[in-house]
C-alpha cells in the first residue's frame, strides 16, 4: 500500500468522526486532535477504525506517539501489508 493510499484511508476514517473537518488544509505536522477538535474518545474510535480498515493492530501504548498525520503515515506504512 502506498503512502497516498494510507493517507486516503486516514481521511476516510477521520471523515466519519469529524465530518466537518477541512482535511485538505491539514498539514503533515499539525497536531491532529487539537486542529480537528478530536477528543480522547473520538481518537480511540479513529484508531480502532484504522485498525479495521488496514488490519494494523495499534496497541494503546503507542497512541501517544501518533499525534500528527506524518506520525500516522510513518507508523502505518511500516506495518501495513
Amino acid at each position: 500500500m502506498t503512502e497516498a493510499q494510507i493517507k486516503e484511508t486516514i481521511f476516510k476514517v477521520l471523515g466519519r468522526i469529524a465530518p466537518e473537518a477541512q482535511l485538505d488544509k491539514l498539514a503533515l505536522n499539525d497536531n491532529l486532535r487539537e486542529t480537528l477538535d478530536i477528543d480522547s474518545f473520538d481518537y480511540l474510535q479513529f484508531l480502532i477504525g484504522l485498525n479495521e480498515e488496514l488490519g494494523v493492530e495499534i496497541p494503546e501504548a503507542d497512541y501517544g506517539q501518533l499525534t500528527t498525520l506524518a506520525d500516522l503515515i510513518r507508523y502505518l506504512s511500516a506495518r501495513v501489508r
Binding site: A18, P19, E20, D37, D39, F41, D42, P59, E60, G64
Partner: protein, 595 residues
C-alpha cells in the same frame, strides 16, 4: 423499593494505617466526624492580614510566599512537547500580583467576571489566582467547547474579561464579539502586540504591571468562582461559589486526598471542570504542596512516565482514564517505578469495582472513589485512606457533611422524607450550610430554590446507603448525561441540532458506554419531504460538532420518524433510553404515539 445489585461479590479492602510510614491525617473516621467543627477548620487558615476577611488566593499563595515555604515548588508544569516550567510560591505570588494589577489597570474590580478559555497552560493558573486576588470572579471554560457553548456561558455569566489564546479567540469568540457587549477586554496570552482596543496582549501588560499587590478586604461570602453546569430543561447555569469555599478545599485536601507537606500531587482534571479548579488549582496550593500540571491529553505511557519521573505521591484521576490504563497490555510496576505513589483517588462518575481492585492488583494501590458535583464545590462523600474500601461504593460523608437518602413525599407540599432503612434507593441529599455549597445559580434564583426541599439540598443523583453508612451510586434522577466525567445537558444539544434546516425535532440521551460512562446520542426526526441518508447523518454530526465542540456534540445520531411524546407534547427521553438499553418501557400511559 429494594435496590438491585449486590455487594457480596467484591470483598472489602481492609486498611492497616498503623503500619504505614506516612500516617493519614484522618485515622479515626467516626471520632473525627463526631467532633468536627468548621470553626476549627477556619482557625487552621490564616485569613487576610489585619482581619480583613478571607481570600482563597491569600490562603493558596501569599501566606506561603511570605513564610518558610516561599521557595518551595508550587507548580511544576509539563508542556506537551516535554519542557518543564517551575513556579515556587514566591514566583506565583509575583505573577498573580502582576495579573491582579493588569485587571485593576483595566478597571476590572470586585465581582467582575474573568473567564479563561484555554488548555492547561501556565497563564490559566496565573489568571485564576490573580482574579481571586483582585476579588474578581474566576470562570473557567473547557477549551474543547465549540463556539455555541462558549457564547452561552460568556453571555449568561456577564463576562467582562476573557483570557484566551489567539487561535481559540479566532475560532470560537471573534465572530460573536458584537453579541457580547459586556465583554470589554480580551487578553490574549500568546501575542506580543495589542490587536485593537479591547483585544490586548497579555504578556505586554504583565511585563508592565507592578509586582506588588495588596488583596483588598474580602468578605468570605464574596463571589469567587463561577462554574457552569448543565441543566435538563434549560441552558447551562452558573453555579456561584464564594471565598469561604476554601474551607472545604482545605479540609478535603487534608482528610480525603491526605496531603502532607512534601507531597507531589497530580490532579489530571482540566480546570474547565470543577475538579480541575477545586483540586487542580486551589486545594494543593492551600496546603503549600507541589501541584503537577500536564498540558497534554491522556496518553497511557506518558502518564506512567510522569508518575515515575515526577515522583507523584498523591494522584487524583478519573474512571475514564483508569479504564484506558486497564486496556494496556503491560505490567506497569515492571516497567515503571511507582514506589513514590502513596494514594490514588478517582472522581467524575462511579468507579466500577473491577477498576478499584485492578488498582490494588496492578498498581499496588486500591483506587479511592469519591463523589461530589459542581454545586457542592468540593468532595462530599469519599473513601478515606484509612477506611476500608467497599469496591463500587463512593464511601462515607466528609466530616462536617450530613448526607441522607430521601424520597419526595408530596411534590406540591415541598416535603421530603429521610429513608432510614438501609439499602433502599432514593435521592441523595445533603444538609445545606457547608462552606463550598453553591450560593446561587447566576440570575436564576428560581432554579436555585428548586434544589432545596424540606431543609435538604437535593443532588439529583439516586443512591442508596448500606447499614454501615457507605453510599452507593445508582443513577441520575433526571436526564443529564454524564460523559467522560462531565455533564452534558440534553437541551443544549437538542437546541443546536434543531437549528439545522433538515431537522424537525431532536431528543438527546446518554447511552451507556464502557469507557466513558455514557456517550451523547441524538435521535432526530426530519422535516417532511426530507429522507434520511448517511450523507445527511454525517452532515448533522459535523454541524453539531462545529457549533458545540467535541466535548458536547453527539457521538451518535440516529434518525427516527416520530419521537415518543407525552400527552402534553413533551418528548420522552427516558423512553428512548429504555428502548436503547432494551429495558422494559415502564408506564407508558402518558405516551401519545411513536411509530
Amino acid at each position: 423499593m429494594k435496590a438491585k445489585g449486590s455487594t457480596v461479590n467484591w470483598k472489602p479492602i481492609k486498611k492497616f494505617p498503623n503500619t504505614w510510614t506516612v500516617k493519614p491525617n484522618l485515622l479515626d473516621y467516626d471520632k473525627t466526624y463526631a467532633t468536627f467543627s468548621w470553626e476549627e477548620v477556619r482557625r487552621e487558615l490564616d485569613g487576610l492580614p489585619g482581619g480583613k476577611g478571607l481570600n482563597i488566593a491569600h490562603e493558596a499563595i501569599d501566606r506561603h510566599a511570605t513564610g518558610p515555604r516561599r521557595d518551595h515548588l508550587a507548580i511544576r508544569w509539563l508542556s506537551r512537547e516535554g519542557s518543564v516550567l517551575d513556579f515556587t510560591y514566591g514566583d506565583l505570588r509575583e505573577q498573580s500580583n502582576r495579573f491582579a494589577n493588569v485587571l485593576r489597570g483595566l478597571g476590572v474590580g470586585k465581582g467582575d467576571r474573568v473567564f479563561v478559555l484555554a488548555g492547561r497552560i501556565p497563564s490559566l493558573y496565573i489568571a485564576a489566582l490573580g482574579s481571586l486576588k483582585n476579588t474578581s470572579v474566576f470562570c473557567p471554560l473547557f477549551s474543547a467547547f465549540g463556539p455555541e457553548p462558549v457564547f452561552q456561558r460568556l453571555s449568561r455569566g456577564d463576562a467582562k474579561v476573557l483570557v484566551t489564546t489567539e487561535r481559540l479567540y479566532r475560532q470560537k469568540v471573534a465572530d460573536m464579539r458584537e453579541r457580547l457587549p459586556q465583554l470589554q477586554h480580551v487578553l490574549l496570552v500568546d501575542i506580543d502586540e495589542d490587536i485593537d482596543p479591547g483585544t490586548w496582549s497579555l504578556p505586554k501588560r504583565l511585563k508592565e504591571a507592578a509586582t506588588e499587590f495588596t488583596i483588598p478586604p474580602t468578605d468570605p461570602e464574596d463571589m469567587a468562582l463561577l462554574h457552569f453546569t448543565s441543566g435538563t430543561t434549560g441552558m447551562p447555569k452558573g453555579a456561584i461559589h464564594v471565598h469561604e469555599a476554601v474551607l472545604t478545599h482545605y479540609v478535603t485536601g487534608k482528610y480525603v486526598l491526605d496531603f502532607h507537606p512534601e507531597d507531589i500531587f497530580w490532579c489530571t482534571a482540566d480546570p474547565g471542570w470543577v475538579t480541575g479548579t477545586s483540586y487542580g488549582i486551589i486545594a494543593p496550593l492551600v496546603h503549600g504542596i507541589t501541584n503537577l500540571i500536564d498540558e497534554a491529553d491522556f496518553d497511557a505511557t506518558r502518564w506512567y512516565r510522569i508518575l515515575e519521573e515526577q515522583r507523584v505521591t498523591v494522584w487524583y484521576t478519573a474512571p475514564t482514564a483508569i479504564r484506558r490504563l486497564m486496556r494496556l497490555e503491560i505490567e506497569p510496576r515492571r516497567q515503571y517505578d511507582l514506589s513514590h505513589l502513596r494514594l490514588i483517588h478517582s472522581v467524575g462518575e462511579p468507579l466500577n469495582p473491577e477498576a478499584v481492585v485492578w488498582g490494588e492488583q496492578v498498581l499496588g494501590l486500591p483506587i479511592h472513589d469519591n463523589w461530589w458535583q459542581t454545586e457542592t464545590g468540593g468532595i462530599m462523600i469519599a473513601n478515606f485512606p484509612s477506611m476500608e474500601i467497599r469496591p463500587g461504593s463512593m464511601g462515607r460523608p466528609l466530616p462536617g457533611i450530613e448526607a441522607a437518602i430521601v424520597r419526595r413525599v408530596n411534590e406540591d407540599k415541598d416535603e421530603v422524607e429521610v429513608v432510614k432503612e438501609p439499602n433502599v434507593e432514593g435521592e441523595l441529599a445533603l444538609k445545606p450550610g457547608w462552606p463550598s455549597m453553591f450560593r446561587g445559580y447566576l440570575h436564576e434564583e428560581k432554579r436555585y430554590q428548586k434544589c432545596f426541599v424540606g431543609g435538604w439540598y437535593l443532588t439529583g443523583d439516586l443512591a442508596r446507603r448500606d447499614e454501615d453508612g457507605y453510599f452507593w451510586f445508582v443513577g441520575r434522577a433526571d436526564d443529564i448525561i454524564k460523559t467522560s466525567g462531565h455533564m452534558v445537558g440534553p437541551f443544549e444539544v437538542e437546541s443546536v441540532l434543531m437549528e439545522h434546516p433538515a431537522v424537525a425535532e431532536a431528543a438527546v440521551i446518554g447511552k451507556p458506554e464502557p469507557l466513558i460512562g455514557e456517550l451523547v446520542k441524538a435521535f432526530v426526526s426530519l422535516k417532511p419531504g426530507i429522507e434520511p441518508s448517511e450523507k445527511l447523518r454525517l452532515e448533522l454530526l459535523g454541524f453539531a460538532r462545529s457549533r458545540l465542540g467535541s466535548a458536547v456534540a453527539p457521538k451518535e445520531i440516529e434518525f427516527q420518524a416520530n419521537l415518543p411524546r407525552t400527552r402534553s407534547g413533551k418528548i420522552m427521553r427516558r423512553l428512548l433510553k429504555a428502548r436503547e438499553l432494551g429495558l422494559p418501557e415502564g408506564d407508558i400511559s402518558a405516551l401519545e404515539t411513536s411509530e
